[in-house]
């Protein structure tokens, strides 16, 4: 791979679906883009999802073509496993300091054959499967990862050297070190995405119990390339016969600092609940909600379909989740449609519909502001929704606030357009324009 140049038109921070969309939109307009991703693969949260609502398309099947397009676009330079350390305004543009973390191999000669991973003798929890599955100390991030290159996690390396011995292209390079790179760019798009609220935020919901899961872990369990190969419960491998979803488990709750609605939880829970009805014959799926917010195109119809196909939606506020001796879970719930009657139900598995929080904060890296909700502040929310508090720096996707995939893509496109306008206004070019032949 060619070295990073010292000048690009745009820096896009984050290689999830929003960052890829922004990079592609700028690249298609003729701008040279540096797309930086902090993990070893692009694709973000979306590539790990099972299916998307309301179409039930396979998520990775519609995400991977965008990933490939971003990686192979002639005007997009992809830089994975790299942190943005500093973005400083210089004139109308920006000086950017990057830290390229070492994969401990030569990316140009690694062929992604997996031999090193197969030879590595230690297994550790895999981040891609939210800890439910295993990976090895040297590993290819996942089957759909782009680039398909291995990465050595030095923290878990036992220094046996087996990976080096089996590598057919001798690409392992234990002497590699992090590289500091300085780049000048004309504009910056922040597309740093989301995290799910930590599971221990509300201890009364039992988030640390083995059979109480995050919705992203459930996405992996439902995925055909997931950690178990089918839906099983993590504590003992039982095929669950009854599953409960607790809505607003990590949103609309001032006590945990998330007063806002995360906008996607109703729909992802309904989608997962419906799919569970498809995957496990006769499974009981209950969804405890405050109110269902099915606001998007086709979402209300999807809600009706889920109910019609046997998802039991119950207006109720769960107070507590406790574990029985056999890892079953007991929900204590106030049933709002029954005059507030308090009841207890037993389930095999519980999913907490945790809210979305910002995955990254700009403090100390770039002088833009977070809003009170922790997402990037967008002061001109009505007419210029991708503008941040610094001219020339734009924001797209969930970095600016919770939203679903279509909205993240639309907003990333808007950020790309605003960034293109900014570049045109200040006549920034990273390279000489190609002469047009009449």
């Amino acid at each position: 791979m060619a070295d990073i140049r010292d000048r690009y038109d745009a820096l896009v921070i984050g290689g999830g679906i929003a960052g890829m969309q922004a990079a592609l939109d700028l690249g298609e307009q003729g701008f040279e883009v540096l797309l930086v991703e902090r993990t070893p693969s692009i694709g973000g949260v979306m590539v790990g999802l099972n299916k998307v609502f309301p179409t039930l398309d396979c998520s990775s099947c519609i995400c991977t073509p965008r990933m490939a397009e971003s990686a192979h676009h002639p005007r997009i330079r992809l830089q994975t496993y790299t942190e943005v350390r500093q973005v400083e305004p210089v004139g109308t543009g920006f000086r950017v300091e990057l830290e390229c973390k070492p994969r401990y191999l030569n990316e140009d000669t690694c062929i992604g054959c997996d031999e090193c991973e197969l030879a590595c003798p230690i297994e550790v929890p895999h981040e891609f499967d939210y800890g439910l599955g295993a990976r090895r100390a040297i590993y290819i991030p996942h089957g759909n990862a782009i680039p398909q290159k291995a990465v050595l996690d030095l923290e878990h390396c036992i220094f046996c050297g087996k990976c080096e011995k089996v590598c057919p292209t001798s690409c392992i390079d234990f002497t590699a070190e992090a590289k500091q790179v300085r780049v000048d760019v004309g504009t910056v798009i922040v597309a740093t995405g989301l995290e799910i609220l930590p599971m221990d935020k509300k201890p009364e919901y039992g988030g640390m119990l083995p059979n109480v899961m995050s919705p992203l872990a459930m996405e992996r369990i439902q995925s055909s390339n997931g950690p178990y190969g089918r839906v099983l419960r993590p504590a003992d491998g039982k095929i669950p016969r009854s599953i409960a979803y607790i809505q607003c488990a990590g949103s609309r709750d001032r006590s945990i600092g998330v007063p806002y609605c995360s906008r996607v939880c109703c729909m992802y829970a309904l989608k997962q609940a419906l799919l569970l009805r498809h995957y496990i014959h006769g499974v009981e799926v209950a969804l405890y909600y405050m109110d269902i917010r099915a606001f998007g195109k086709g979402y209300e119809q999807f809600y009706r379909r889920a109910v019609a196909e046997g998802v039991n939606v119950i207006k109720g506020k769960v107070a507590r989740v406790t574990q029985a001796d056999n890892f079953d879970l007991i929900l204590r719930v106030e049933l709002l449609d029954e005059g507030g009657r308090v009841d207890e139900h037993r389930y095999d598995l519980v999913v907490l519909s945790q809210g979305l929080i910002a995955a990254w904060h700009p403090d100390g890296v770039i002088d833009i502001e977070d809003a009170d909700d922790g997402f990037i502040h967008t002061p001109e929310i009505k007419l210029n929704p991708s503008f941040t508090t610094m001219p020339g720096v734009f924001v797209g996707g969930v970095a600016a606030g919770p939203k679903d995939i279509p909205d993240a893509i639309v907003e990333a496109g808007e950020a790309a357009m605003a960034a293109a306008n900014y570049l045109k206004r200040y006549r920034w070019r990273s390279s000489k324009p190609v002469a047009a032949v009449a």
């Binding site: 929890p125 220094f159 234990f174 083995p210 099983l232 993590p234 491998g237």
Partner: protein, 99 residues
Amino acid sequence: MPESTPSKADKPKRAIEVLRERHGGMSKELKEYFNEQQKIYKALRAALKNGPRTVPELAKDCNLPAPAVMWHLMALRRYGQVLDGPEENGYLLYTLPRA
């Protein structure tokens, strides 16, 4: 006079040795983690030699907590060292692949 054979100290270091030295070798915690993992795998393989087992059965046979058995079994499954089989009383049976 024959040339003297280079001593071990003169031998150029392999890259892995340089890396090990640079990072102070394996931490005590990682060493314990790795040894414990090998013990669990050994126990699981020994139990599975007696025939297909579910996770709760393996937990009982190996005297290990079921969640730990589940995680390690899935790690073995991921790398083809254990296969999942038919269902029995709401659990899957796991087996060792044929040698």
